[in-house]
Symmetry: C2
Subunit: 320 residues, 2 copies
């Protein structure tokens, strides 16, 4: 039974794989377990993935998560939603043998178990030092990443940051932000004034043959933040059809009141590109009207004359 937080976890998993496990149970369907599902399947391990919620991949709307689930299924990964582990059973050597899964009568056999059930900011040291935490549970910091204790800075998964669309403090546990924050904190420590503006929770992951990516807010998140979200979902070719079909599905969310783009999710060919394009539009607070006419590059291997991103924006305009 492994968690997946750092290099020593990875090394331990690698040596466990030398015992050639037959059946893996992946608890939680987040980014890390999505990558593990692919890696283990490619090594010939039968993979079952459990997700407590009613759809996999937190951070996607259910309509998009379903596409990821289909990609997993197409590659033989069993996905069980709305289920969690009650207890694990071991063999005499102390290794895991099976799990009792909610709603399943028989124990589920498993030679290896990977647990990816979310990230909590490590704030023990900060709390012990009397440093203030923010609403998200991570360490509260200024724009310059200074904590409530003067001259003490926080960066990375432990530090709170601003979501650039919702304007809410969030605990963003992604390496991209951690890297930028490390730089900003370092500059300030070296007395070069620098600010960290915030995040969009942009991520991308490869799930077998599909790129899966998101940025900004999902429809569900937008509603929770008090927006009046409108969603449009389209499927279009990521390149010219005569170069081989490479469909990509985009789900775009906008605010009915302000016409601002709020977020984009993508599954398929070139999902990474369309989500990066959306990330820039979100940072600029762009309205859908402007985003629908962006002058993006076209050549047959890379796009269509109307890039899928523009198709999605034009679809949104019909609902706004």
């Amino acid at each position: 039974i492994f968690s997946l937080a750092n290099l020593s976890d990875a090394l331990a998993i690698r040596s466990a794989l030398e015992r050639r496990p037959q059946r893996a149970l992946l608890v939680g369907a987040g980014l890390v377990n999505l990558e593990m599902a692919e890696s283990l399947s490619r090594r010939g391990v039968a993979v079952t993935m459990l997700e407590k919620c009613d759809h996999i991949v937190p951070g996607l709307d259910p309509e998009m998560a379903d596409l990821v689930e289909a990609e997993l299924a197409r590659h033989g990964v069993a996905v069980w939603k709305g289920r969690s582990v009650r207890t694990f059973f071991g063999n005499p050597d102390g290794r895991v043998q099976s799990a009792w899964v909610s709603g399943i009568a028989e124990p589920v056999a498993a030679d290896i178990v990977l647990v990816d059930i979310g990230v909590r900011p490590e704030t023990g040291l900060a709390r012990a030092a009397g440093i203030a935490l923010g609403r998200s549970g991570a360490i509260a910091v200024s724009e310059r990443l200074e904590t409530s204790a003067p001259s003490i800075y926080a960066a990375g998964n432990c530090a709170e940051t601003l979501h650039l669309v919702s304007n809410q403090p969030v605990a963003n546990a992604l390496g991209t932000a951690a890297n930028k924050q490390g730089r900003v904190a370092g500059e300030n420590l070296a007395r070069v004034p620098a600010v960290f503006r915030g995040v969009l929770n942009t991520w991308v992951v490869r799930v077998f043959d599909a790129a899966v990516a998101r940025t900004g807010l999902t429809e569900q998140e937008a509603r929770a933040c008090g927006f009046l979200p409108v969603a449009a979902q389209i499927t279009a070719g990521a390149r010219a059809r005569y170069l081989g079909e490479e469909p990509v599905t985009l789900r775009a969310i906008a605010d009915r009141a302000s016409r601002r783009l709020l977020g984009v999710q993508a599954v398929g060919g070139g999902a990474d590109k369309r989500v990066d394009v959306a990330a820039v539009a979100l940072t600029a607070g762009m309205k859908v009207d402007e985003a629908a006419q962006l002058d993006l590059g076209y050549a047959p291997p890379y796009s269509q004359v109307w890039d899928p991103f523009l198709v999605a924006m034009n679809a949104l305009l019909r609902y706004l």
Copy 2:
């Protein structure tokens, strides 16, 4: 001897290829001839490309054009710069046989010649109708694409448009803009008010194994438009190294006075993605400071923790 403007040109070239030409002479090193150089080489035709100017690919700075030239050379295409055709010689059937090229004593043998020396807006009908042309030589239009003659609209290569970075009227001869303009003109004709905001001259082309793309202004164009351009050129991995090297070179231009991003050129893996990202930043009038912290997606197959676009922006900051 063929030009490359429309479908009948393409069909004529295709039937000429059935005569199995051995040597092609490509006059002009623009987008169309770059694509033709690849297509003809793949069919086993020996390709020589002539360019009147001192670097190929108008729309790239010389430093980036050199990378494209190297890619062509690597695939056996001969590139002659600063040269033009004085005259062509035919054989008794009336087909081209060779060309007299400036600065070359011997005639250059060629079974097929393709001429791609730029696009001029077709304004004959407009001029005959007394419709005003703009400074760029294309038909002057309002934001709604109405010409100087009420209720007569112009869209596509014949219509002038605004460059969103320079704010100058330009004749943009790209299908992406033409498509959007056609829609805007159509909506206005159908009495649905719509505006076309302008272009960035974004394009992308595949040259053998490299994507080549640009958006906004090059350093040379920026200087001609009265900016004080600063340029940074970097090479970085477009994805994780262990998935196979895929370097991309980015050249980014910013304005020293306003710190605004002015343009980006890219050659290599994922050039299309980084240039599309830049196109959104340019449309938003983003400063380099903000562009350097964009929350772009990272996973090993798609990027690095610091995306090459961010590396380029951080390089620019050092000069600003």
